[in-house]
């Protein structure tokens, strides 16, 4: 395992608003193919942390590096070009285009063709888009208007868009928010499978503890802007400090699984 390169390295990330320290000295690393969950109660600083990683927010201090290259304070579009894909808490797609066209735009952007005024986009990267859609199980919906999709399908489309630049790192902000329970499991299984196959590192925030404990290789727990625990799901579940301040849900999880085991 030690041969797997460090994909994302975060050192001393700090951000405050006025007197409020939203994020204080957060440091962690993420290796290729690893699925890392960032959890914490509301207001813990997850979103601030996330926004600094994807370039929507500029840290006061600290460094973020992707495969050794500095991304701190860079614009989202620049970070994307450095091989970081992302999905949004509320899925963001292009509703007036077809599902295939949604992916084609991302592919065209990846191919640095955005200022091409003359070629027909329809012929560009058509098959590549179809392949990505098949990968996320949306191949049958390729010609549908994106605006008509069910929300779960929009989330899968968003994943396909995020994969268009062959990212090395995928940032997913509450990937399963607003989805039905079965869809959640499917989406996360899909993400995990793709991540392992293509050795993509995944960092996601999540409120649903079932999702977190089932899919994360490692968990970071954030509270009041600082990391209070880090480790495998078992380690985090056993951490008394985490239990004390946070895991109301975790206890339920334990109880439910013990019930399941005894039954």
């Amino acid at each position: 395992m030690s041969m797997v390169p460090t994909l994302l390295s975060v050192e001393g990330l700090t951000k405050s608003y006025g007197g409020v320290h939203a994020v204080r000295g957060v440091s962690f690393e993420l290796r290729a193919g690893e699925i890392l969950a960032l959890i914490g109660p509301n207001g813990a600083g997850k979103s601030t942390c996330f926004d600094m990683l994807n370039g929507q927010n500029i840290p006061d201090s600290g460094r973020i590096r992707v495969l050794g290259a500095e991304t701190t304070g860079k614009k989202p579009r620049v970070i994307w070009r450095m091989g970081v894909g992302r999905t949004f808490q509320i899925a963001a797609t292009f509703p007036t285009m077809t599902v295939r066209e949604n992916v084609q735009v991302a592919l065209v952007s990846h191919g640095a063709q955005l200022f091409n005024l003359w070629a027909s986009t329809a012929r560009q990267a058509r098959d590549e888009a179809g392949r990505l859609l098949d990968l996320v199980g949306m191949g049958a919906y390729a010609e549908r208007p994106c605006g008509e999709l069910a929300y779960g399908d929009v989330k899968r489309l968003e994943l396909a868009i995020a994969l268009a630049n062959q990212p090395k790192l995928l940032l997913m902000d509450e990937p399963t928010a607003g989805m039905a329970p079965r869809e959640r499991v499917e989406l996360m299984r899909l993400t995990a499978r793709i991540a392992r196959e293509q050795s993509i590192g995944v960092l996601f925030t999540e409120h649903d503890m079932d999702v977190v404990f089932e899919h994360a290789d490692r968990i970071l727990v954030l509270n009041r802007g600082t990391l209070i625990a880090e480790g495998s799901p078992e380690e985090v579940r056993g951490n008394t400090q985490v239990r004390a301040i946070y895991l109301g849900e975790g206890l339920l999880y334990d109880a439910r699984h013990r019930e399941g085991a005894s039954a």
Partner: protein, 630 residues
């Protein structure tokens, strides 16, 4: 020194009215999210009604009473407008709201001329403030001092109203989150109506108070609305303090700008506005605007290139149009050329609006720049026609590159206001820079060369260029650039997250649209043989907007149909009635309220529905979904 002080005080006095109107606009926007274009019209109505009342009733009581009653009466008209029109469009896209209130403005302009006549009306002096006060040898009208005091007083009253009354608390709450206020059980309808009434009252009061200073005329609405837009862009929409500070700033810049650039004083205001926009895009006291609402019901079907059959049909239509000179006379051909030119103009705006999602309210600026470009090249440099046609539009390109750079920093209503203000600036340069542009007299004698001089030849030229423009813009729509532009329109957030530099894409689109508009203007100069400041006037910008809407803003090339129908109708209407603005305004309001999808959009929706209902029974996708659900 004393001179400068007096100049400063004059500026402060002008600021009072501007502040009243701008604060009214800001308050209305804060709660209803409507940028009330008709605000200038209410200002003008206030002045006219106050003129009538103060002439009718003598004495101090008659004057001051007349002013207050005028403002109240116009506020009552405002309430009527809100209840009859605005309540129907609160959930429409902003563009439609701006257009509907613009339609109102057009109607009021004609109504005012109908009631009060076309001549300027000079009202009487304010009782008690008739004299002037001497200040180191300079005279300051005492009425100016009254206005200077009035501004802060109104600001104070508004502050008390919003901080100390229950109604004010509701208004502030609604400004922050109107859905939440509605959820808390507040009667939103009457809150909106009362806010609109207050805003209109302030505008009308601002107009009424101008009587002793300025003649009342039927062009004062547009003059003030442009200044007010500049004020709220600088001060920040929704902020009353911002409106006050910016009103003072703009008025002082005007007062002193005249001393520095006597011919083009508005340049100074523009420069300040540009600086503010770069440093604080949401104005000095404003807050960033939330992303525009998506309107449910206005769903867009994904665009697709024409099928082979549709292409053949389009070519057939073009061939028929090209055969027109064999059957029609010179008048029809000249009208035909004009329509072709407006097709070019309309598709250029349509490209910006539909594909780019950027509704420019000042697109005529680039049309006019193209026209002036041709006129200057032909008259001053004496270049041949072909060279002029190729180089003239470059002036449109240049203007679009400069103004577009600032404009695309903003979106939605800010974008609309800013483009309108830019167009007004270009217009006033053309109007005031007499030595180059000929001012009001324009530039005459720009005639086509022999090969294009006959009506049929010029018609073919215009038709050919129009066809070319439509085809090129369509190609761009379906090019990667077009996709990036649509992506930025649909979701700037997602666009940025897949590496799209939205601002640069939009700027490029703005330049493309401006250049094509400049091409239309270049042809127009040759068609008319002359150019005038009106070639970049507001009414031309609105003509273009109406053509786009009429065709259907969600279509790829609906503007072609919109331009043909609208221009033909317009030419016919002007020959039939003196009240063309009234009819036109009513028409605009009707489209917005009744046919928001436009001609082509309505047809497409109809065809789409029929196709859907005939095929839904056997849709493989639907059945497979049902199966998988089971």
């Amino acid at each position: 020194m004393a001179f400068y002080v007096v100049q400063f005080l004059t500026g402060l006095a002008s600021a009072a009215s501007l502040f009243l109107v701008a604060s009214g606009l800001s308050i209305i926007f804060g709660v209803t999210r409507i940028v009330n274009f008709a605000h200038g019209a209410f200002y003008m109505l206030g002045a006219y009604v106050a003129f009538t009342l103060t002439e009718r009733f003598s004495g101090a009581f008659g004057f001051w009473g007349g002013i207050i009653v005028a403002a109240l009466a116009v506020a009552a008209i405002g309430v009527l407008v809100e209840m009859v029109l605005l309540r129907r469009i609160y959930h429409s896209p902003e563009l439609f709201q701006l257009l509907a209130t613009f339609g109102l403005t057009l109607m009021v302009e004609d109504l005012v001329v109908l009631i009060w006549g076309p001549d300027d009306l000079v009202g009487r002096r304010a009782p008690g403030f008739k004299g002037a006060i001497e200040f180191f040898g300079q005279n300051i009208p005492s009425y100016d001092l009254f206005l200077i005091a009035l501004g802060p007083v109104v600001l104070g009253v508004l502050w008390l109203l919003f901080q100390r009354t229950r109604w004010g608390v509701l208004v502030r709450a609604a400004t922050q989150d109107r859905d939440m206020v509605a959820a808390l059980g507040v009667n939103q309808k009457w809150l909106f109506t009362s806010v609109f009434a207050l805003g209109v009252f302030l505008a009308a009061l601002g107009g009424a108070l101008q009587i002793p200073r300025d003649a009342v005329n039927h062009a004062m609405d547009l003059r003030v609305i442009v200044e007010v837009f500049v004020v709220v862009v600088i001060g920040g929409l929704g902020s009353i303090i911002g409106a006050f500070v910016a009103a003072v700033l703009v008025s002082e810049l005007n007062a002193f700008g005249i001393l520095i650039f006597p011919k083009i004083s508005i340049i100074l205001v523009f420069l300040v506005m540009a600086v503010v926009l770069i440093v604080r895009p949401w104005g000095l006291f404003g807050k960033p605007e939330a992303p525009a609402r998506r309107t449910p019901g206005l769903t867009v079907n994904p665009w697709r290139p024409l099928t082979t059959n549709e292409r053949l049909a389009a070519i057939a239509v073009l061939v028929v149009a090209a055969a027109l000179p064999f059957v029609a006379g010179n008048y029809v051909l000249t009208v035909g050329s004009e329509i072709a030119i407006f097709v070019i103009f309309a598709v250029s705006l349509h490209f910006l609006m539909s594909v780019g999602g950027l509704a420019s309210f000042g697109h005529a600026a680039y049309f006019g720049l193209g026209a002036y470009g041709v006129a200057l090249l032909a008259k001053m440099a004496g270049l041949p026609m072909i060279a002029c046609l190729l180089l003239g539009p470059l002036l449109g390109l240049l203007g679009a590159a400069v103004f577009g750079f600032f404009a695309v920093q903003l979106s939605g209503v800010y974008f609309a206001m800013l483009t309108l203000a830019f167009a007004q600036i270009v217009w006033s340069i053309a109007f005031q820079w007499v030595s180059v542009t000929g001012g009001d007299n324009g530039i005459l004698g720009v005639w086509p060369e022999k090969w294009a001089a006959s009506p049929s030849h010029f018609y073919w030229l215009s038709l050919g260029i129009a066809a070319l423009a439509v085809v090129i813009l369509r190609i761009i729509v379906f090019s990667p650039f077009g996709f990036a532009l649509r992506a930025t329109r649909d979701s700037p957030l997602r666009g940025e997250a897949i590496g799209i530099n939205g601002k640069r894409i939009q700027w490029t689109a703005f330049v493309i649209a401006g250049t094509v508009a400049g091409l239309a203007g270049a042809l127009f100069a040759y068609l008319k043989g002359s150019v005038f400041p009106d070639n970049m006037g507001i009414s031309l910008s609105v003509d273009a907007l109406v053509m786009v809407l009429l065709g259907g803003v969600e279509t790829v090339s609906g503007a072609v149909v919109g331009a043909i129908v609208y221009k033909a109708l317009n030419i016919w209407l002007v020959s039939q009635t003196d009240l063309s603005k009234l009819v036109l305004g009513g028409f605009v309001v009707l489209i917005v309220v009744a046919f928001p999808k436009g001609i082509v959009g309505t047809l497409e929706a109809f065809v789409h529905r029929r196709r859907k209902s005939s095929s839904s029974a056997s849709s493989p996708l639907l059945t497979s979904r049902i199966e998988s659900a089971e």
